[in-house]
Amino acid sequence: MGASQRRPCLTAKLYWEAELTFKHLLIGALLASTIATPAMAQANTDITVVLSEELDLVEPCMATRSNIGRVILQNISETLTELDVRGDKGLMPRLADSWEDKGDGTWQFKLHSGVKFSDGTTFDAADVKHSFDRVFSDQLTCESKRYFADTTLTFTVVDDLTIDVKAEPAQPVLPLLMSLVTMVPSETPMEFVRDPIGTGPYVMTEWTAGQQIVLDRRADYWGAQPEVTKATYLFRSEPAVRAGMVAAGEADIAPQITAEVADNKATDFTYLNSETVYLRVDGQDAPTSDIRIRQALNAAIDREAFIGTVLPAGTELAVAMVPPTTLGWNPDLTPPAYDPELAKKLIAEAKADGVDVSLPIEVVARTENFPNVTEVSEALVQMFNEVGFTATLHMVEVAEHEQYYSKPYPESTGTRLVLAQHDNSRGDPVFSMFFKYDSKGTQSGVNDPKVDEMIAAASAATGDERAALWSELFKYVHDDIVADVLLFHMVGLSRVGERLDFTPTIATNQQLQLAEIGFK
């Protein structure tokens, strides 16, 4: 206003009027937003969740894809069993009350009685069979099929509430695998559906593509009634916007925000999110075929320096491909110490033995893989170069990354280290170890018959023996053959509005059970 005082009277008046109208507009906006807000995030038991990724599909058999699972898993569609991620109860009953190993690869599941789908039909053994028929159908490409890659399942309906599942070869973790397959009614067609029918406590009442999905609580749910009556899902890809929406009262939960925007201790939760970041090393390629080079790569990295800087505080150093909550996790392993002198010495030794240590090393990383992936990659490359490697960085987008990450690997003059993030929140290493370490694994850089044997033995074992075998494998891969450069168990950050009583868990990446949300 200082400048306008010197203006001629008329102009000043015009400015003043303009400012008045502007103020009116603002007041209008203010009123509108206060009116609009309650419609979005009510003071009652309706909540709004703002997710990072929109859903392409709401198909139950795709529920293991994280963006779909966060909305429908255990909310709309339920599974026979469920993994306890809050306590240490292990595998818990959900739609199945109990299960029993009948021997010879056959498991018998007793189903809960009186369960109704949201279309009113009763859940029975035939529905279980149909749900699996859909998974294996060649009319649609269900994600959950991959968990049964080399297994043939035969279903025998014993009675309405009892079903026998025979796996060939025998599958010791079949009950655990049951926590990954959602149940649909036998009427469900063999194509992707747009109106998922499930047994869960919620039913989808609205899906406006690109805008929102609304779940309403069912009155006739078979289990305990959850507190949340209605959940509206919105989709915003920008973390600052998601966090801001909770701060502004437009949303109640914003999963997957970044450390940079998580500036409120009262609402922002940090938790291990079951992702492990590592550099996949191709052990068949020069110069990384020499174990000393692989050890040098490990010793060159100052892992601690990343934590609390480019990665959020709470990030843990990884000693295995799976997070610490997984069966058989080996507490005796220690991450390689940062020792640039050791790294230089190892390189010199390898060189003396005729290894061409001057071969270029290309670090391949994926844009948007996790927050600050570019910074992490740039720092890794610099650390490699500091000990004498010839490392460069190659940032690629997702489709191209896939080409480097999965077999067959493209040719290279030196070698490529693929920076990747692997997710295993399923509780058992079987979902990781074959793919990442078996000589036939699609992302494996290892070709070691002993590893193949150990994976096969552990996958077939049960109970304590299984845990011990996995433990042994972790040690062998980490200490004896130094298969790769394991880096970090990542943390996720979520902002939860203050009126909610909810703590995110390691599974929040994969599923967000509305039933676990309470109000203060």
């Binding site: 603002l26 906006a29 203010l30 509108a32 937003s33 609009a36 929109e54 392409d56 599909l57 198909e59 293991t64 894809r65 060649d138 009319q139 649609l140 490409t141 994600e143 099929k145 991959r146 890659a149 194509e191 992707f192 747009r194 593509a209 690109g210 805008q211 919105l234 989709f235 915003r236 890809s237 920008e238 600052a240 916007v241 801001g244 929406m245 701060a247 502004a248 437009e250 987008e397 997702v398 489709a399 191209e400 896939e402 080409q403 990450y405 999965s406 979902f431 793919f435 699609t442 992302q443």
Partner: protein
């Protein structure tokens, strides 16, 4: 005139076909959608099955033949990701982008022509410099920066407007405001520039020398002559907006064509990309025909 337009329509259809061929083959150079649709640990069998289900395993020329056959029957195929007809997905998004682009461009054109001409009349003066500098800053400031700062300031700190999304008219204020800035900056400069040239034309000087002050007549005549490049630049900016305001839509969670386009391109959802480009192209071709007609109206000598 009718003959001219019908010729033009036929030529445009031919270029639509050219565009279709170009996009179809170029997009298929960018990788396999199966590996992006399926999880990383999917088996080879699942990938083969996905390709077979969507006809991606056929020889590329056969795929193209089938696509063209369906296309002439107005069938744009299914979205690989969404299991819905691609054209439905695209039209839904367009229903959001068209009003956003229309309102923004309308505001931009009016503001840019008025302020740009005023600046040209007052060349070198305070108002001219102010308009130039403000518009140039606007034209050169990164839009995602402006968008995020605008959200933080107006939605989060001041709580005047909703952060993002659609629903009430208030949701449109920030996206339109952010989207307005860059084309406004560009067009205002072009208006100013061509007005300057037009003002120095002989007849304007004569009129001024005769003592006619900056009257509406001069304004209108000069403007008319200055409009040729202006319209071209407006067309260019409008085309960019019809292609979708990718950044603004992404940040504000606005369900328009730009967000759909980038998602589909990154996920290799070829049918949606093709359908989106075909619809956009149609809109741009129509716009270009209108622009060329406008040239003729502004300057009858160009008409033939």
């Amino acid at each position: 005139m009718t003959k001219l337009i019908s010729q033009r329509v036929i030529a445009s259809l031919l270029s639509l076909l050219g565009l279709l061929i170009l996009v179809f083959f170029l997009s298929r150079l960018t990788g396999d959608p199966a590996v992006l649709f399926l999880p990383i640990d999917a088996t080879e069998e699942m990938k083969t099955q996905f390709r077979a289900l969507h006809g991606l395993d056929l020889p590329i020329l056969e795929q193209f033949g089938r696509y063209v056959w369906d296309f002439v029957h107005l069938d744009f195929g299914e979205s690989l990701r969404k299991a819905r007809p691609a054209i439905d997905v695209v039209l839904e998004a367009y229903a959001w982008t068209l009003p956003l682009a229309g309102i923004t461009m309308g505001l931009v054109v009016v503001a840019a022509i008025v302020l740009g001409s005023l600046a040209a009349f007052n060349v070198g003066g305070f108002f001219d410099r102010l308009v130039s500098i403000v518009s140039l800053i606007g034209a050169s400031a990164p839009d995602f920066w402006i968008a995020i700062v605008a959200i933080v300031v107006f939605a989060i700190n001041l709580s005047w407007l909703p952060t993002s999304g659609v629903g009430t008219p208030w949701h449109w204020v920030l996206p339109i405001a952010v989207l307005f800035i860059r084309p406004f900056g560009l067009i205002v400069q072009v208006v100013r520039g061509s007005m300057l040239t037009a003002l120095s034309a002989q007849y304007v000087k004569t009129a001024r020398a005769k003592g006619v002050k900056n009257l509406p007549i001069i304004f209108v005549h000069t403007l008319r002559n200055a409009m040729l490049p202006v319209i071209t630049v407006i067309g260019d900016q409008a085309a960019a907006m019809l292609n979708g305001a990718v950044i603004v839509e992404t940040i504000f969670g606005f369900p328009g064509i730009g967000k759909l386009m980038i998602d589909s391109i990154l996920q290799r959802d070829f049918n949606v990309v093709l359908a989106a480009i075909m619809v956009t192209a149609l809109a741009i071709f129509i716009m270009n025909i209108l622009i060329d007609l406008a040239y003729g109206l502004l300057d009858p000598r160009i008409r033939n």
